[in-house]
């Protein structure tokens, strides 16, 4: 694999991590969604690049899914939900942004340490990609646990999943990648519909997860 391929892939993966940080930084839902759209966009690009590098045409499908579904459909849908629920100005971080950023740094460092210990038998591209993918996953998870609002939790989950796709596509010649990405898209669709459903059924007046937690089988 030539030098330039490696650099491009590295660049894209790294920027994905960067955008994850941006997501952590957002405290408005709309802007969060926009950043996420960018996230998905970069992912699509990197997947496409991988498809090109590994000349594995089926990966283009994944790229397309990322582009259409994640970068366009989902954000739009969420936009509309937020509009319906009128929660667009909610700021619902559990810990301050700064702290979240610091934690993010720590996580990235951790994933680097863990991954770079991988013996050098594995080819460097894959290793770098893996490290980045792991950081994206961890950052997504961090986002899920630092946000109260269900929508931003979903966003967190989706960026986590982007990390997975990054890893999967980075794994050269891995079969079933397309299927898996499709499966995941379905999963996300479920989640979105779920939120939507709660709204439509007039069961929960807000999608704040704490509202769900009121009903906990056995009351204290």
């Amino acid at each position: 694999m030539s030098r330039i391929d490696f650099d491009v892939a590295h660049l894209l993966a790294g920027s994905l991590v960067l955008i994850s940080f941006l997501e952590l930084y957002q405290d408005r839902l709309y802007s969060l969604l926009n950043v996420y759209a960018a996230h998905a966009l970069v992912l699509a690009a990197s997947v496409a690049w991988q498809a090109f590098v590994q000349d594995a045409p089926h990966l283009y499908v994944t790229a397309a899914i990322a582009l259409l579904f994640k970068a366009i459909v989902i954000p739009v849908a969420l936009h509309r939900i937020i509009a319906r629920l009128g929660i667009h100005r909610e700021i619902e971080n559990v810990v301050g942004v700064g702290l979240a950023m610091l934690a993010g740094m720590g996580l990235v460092a951790l994933s680097m340490v863990v991954m770079l210990r991988v013996t050098h038998g594995a080819d460097p591209l894959a290793r770098e990609d893996l490290a980045f993918a792991l950081s994206v996953v961890l950052l997504g998870l961090l986002m899920m646990v630092t946000r109260r609002n269900a929508v931003s939790q979903v966003v967190g989950f989706m960026s986590l999943e982007n990390g997975l796709v990054l890893a999967a596509t980075g794994a050269k010649g891995m079969p079933l990648v397309v299927e898996i990405s499709v499966a995941f898209s379905i999963l996300i669709a479920f989640i979105v519909i779920g939120i939507f459903l709660f709204r439509i059924r007039e069961r929960f007046d807000t999608v704040d997860v704490q509202a769900l937690d009121r009903y906990r089988g056995e009351q204290r």
Binding site: V118, A122, L160, P175, L187, R203, Y215, R216, E218
Partner: protein, 480 residues
């Protein structure tokens, strides 16, 4: 037109049944069809003992998963019988409407299909997909009552489950990455039989990371503390047959996945030993669940926690490893599936008879419903690991074999067992004994499945057929 073999039967029958049930309206017909389908599946699974297809790139049947398949299909079969009467009652009292019942039956078969697929999958990717499918179906069924609690439980299950799935996928990818340089690109790098053979040459560091993610990912499904959160509510709020299937089967399937990967790591000398991790998680789950039993007010949630406890014990046993402990783990898992599903059958009938799941509202069950009451007592005695029932033997083997190797662990284990037992009986006393409380109406239901399970457990506690023993010992050897 391919020739029909048992393996495809195990997969196709549920699928076809699902499609059929999705179309059938009437409750009676679909319930019967449900039973018929599970029976057929069971027959196919049983026939796997005699004639076994060659492992292909996608499907595989070996000693290990043959046991799981037979167990799964059997419990699926008995549960379908139980669910026939249970769902009938739910219809009668209007908790479920016919459309939901139709949906329920279809989903039941899909779940069966997904679990069987996960078990026979010879491909880590395929297995992952199957387990995800199983999760989604159960999510839908947990929410089927559409009450606040049910939806909340389903949502919780859904979110935590999805995260678990994601972690598991990452682990799977890592395994592939580890395998690729050795096995070469493409499908082979995800095929069990190949992986296990070549695992010695894999990059150990990568395998370690992979195992961490797999442990957490599939561990969420197994319900190990602190990943357990979805389990109690899902059990408590879903329809009882589903609780039985969850506790009895789905947890096993997830555990099966873990075992597979454990074998993978065990095959690689340089990789970290998966044992300590599993032992730690197992003990944590055991102690945690044991203490959680004390403050339970909902009968189904209580037994859900006891499932966590036992998953902890089983994980501990497999973590300890060695022929005795592995044997005990397998035995414990089988016995737990049978016993716990039997308990949930009993609990389902009790909840319907008493019209509530609150422990405070039931009492003196052995007076009002002797069969149910003593059935429940027998079940709890079994699950608490008292002789002469099967779980006693597995606990005997685990504890005695552990104490000689790691006394401290054994003492923690014993303490957990004792605390759990005390918690279970604290509640059982108020349910089964004392002045009768609540309605005394008899539910029109067949207790056959419950007592069938208990009979098997009792028999196994006293006498195990040599064939089965040899079988288990063989597997225990495989697990290393």
């Amino acid at each position: 037109m391919m020739t029909f073999d048992a393996l495809t039967g195990v997969l196709l029958v549920p699928l076809a049944a699902a499609a059929l049930l999705a179309m059938l309206p009437g409750y009676r017909v679909s319930a019967r069809l449900n039973v018929v389908a599970t029976t057929l599946t069971l027959v196919c699974a049983a026939s796997l003992f005699f004639k076994r297809p060659q492992p292909g790139p996608y499907l595989l049947v070996d000693d290990l998963n043959a046991t799981f398949i037979v167990l799964t299909t059997f419990v699926g079969f008995t549960t379908s019988i139980f669910s026939a009467s249970y769902i009938g009652h739910e219809l009668a009292i209007g908790r479920l409407t016919p459309p939901f019942v139709r949906f329920y039956h279809a989903m039941y078969q899909v779940l069966m299909f997904a679990m069987n697929l996960a078990l026979v999958a010879n491909n880590i990717g395929l297995m992952w997909v199957a387990i995800e499918l199983a999760t989604l179906t159960t999510v839908l069924m947990v929410g089927i009552y559409r009450t606040h609690e049910a939806l909340e439980a389903a949502w919780k299950y859904f979110i935590l489950g999805s995260v678990g799935i994601a972690l598991a996928l990452f682990g799977t990818v890592l395994v592939y990455m580890a395998a690729r340089p050795v096995v070469g690109e493409g499908l082979d790098a995800m095929v069990w039989t190949v992986l296990v053979k070549r695992a010695g040459a894999f990059d150990p560091a990568l395998l370690d990371v992979a195992f961490v993610f797999l442990l957490l990912g599939y561990g969420t499904k197994v319900g190990l503390a602190p990943l357990h959160a979805w389990l109690p509510d899902a059990h408590a709020e879903g329809p009882t047959p589903i609780s039985a299937v969850l506790s009895g089967l789905l947890l096993n399937v997830a555990l099966y996945a873990l075992l597979r990967f454990k074998m993978l790591l065990a095959a690689n000398a340089a990789a970290l030993a998966p044992g300590p991790l599993m032992v730690t998680l197992g003990l944590v789950s055991l102690l945690f669940a044991a203490f959680m039993l004390y403050r339970r007010r909902d009968i189904k949630r209580m037994f859900a926690y006891s499932s966590i406890e036992h998953m902890g014990i089983i994980t501990f046993a497999f973590g300890m490893g060695g022929p005795l402990a592995n044997f005990a783990g397998l035995l414990h898992m089988t016995m737990h599936s049978l016993t716990k599903s039997a308990i949930f059958f009993a609990v389902g009938h009790i909840a319907q008879a008493k019209g509530t799941q609150r422990i405070a509202d039931m009492g003196g069950l052995t007076e009002t419903h002797p069969l149910l009451g003593w059935g429940l007592i027998l079940g709890v005695v079994a699950i608490a690991g008292l002789p002469p029932l099967g779980i006693f033997m597995s606990e005997f083997l685990v504890v005695s074999s552990t104490f000689a190797r790691a006394p401290l662990l054994a003492i923690i284990l014993v303490a957990g067992l004792l605390v759990g037992l005390a918690g279970l009986f604290l509640r059982l006393n108020s349910i089964a004994f004392g002045e009768p409380r609540g309605p005394v109406g008899k539910p029109t239901a067949s207790y056959a499945p419950m007592f069938a399970h208990l009979a098997i457990v009792l028999a196994a506690g006293v006498y195990m057929p040599p064939a089965l023993v040899g079988w288990f010992q063989n597997i225990a050897g495989l697990l290393g």
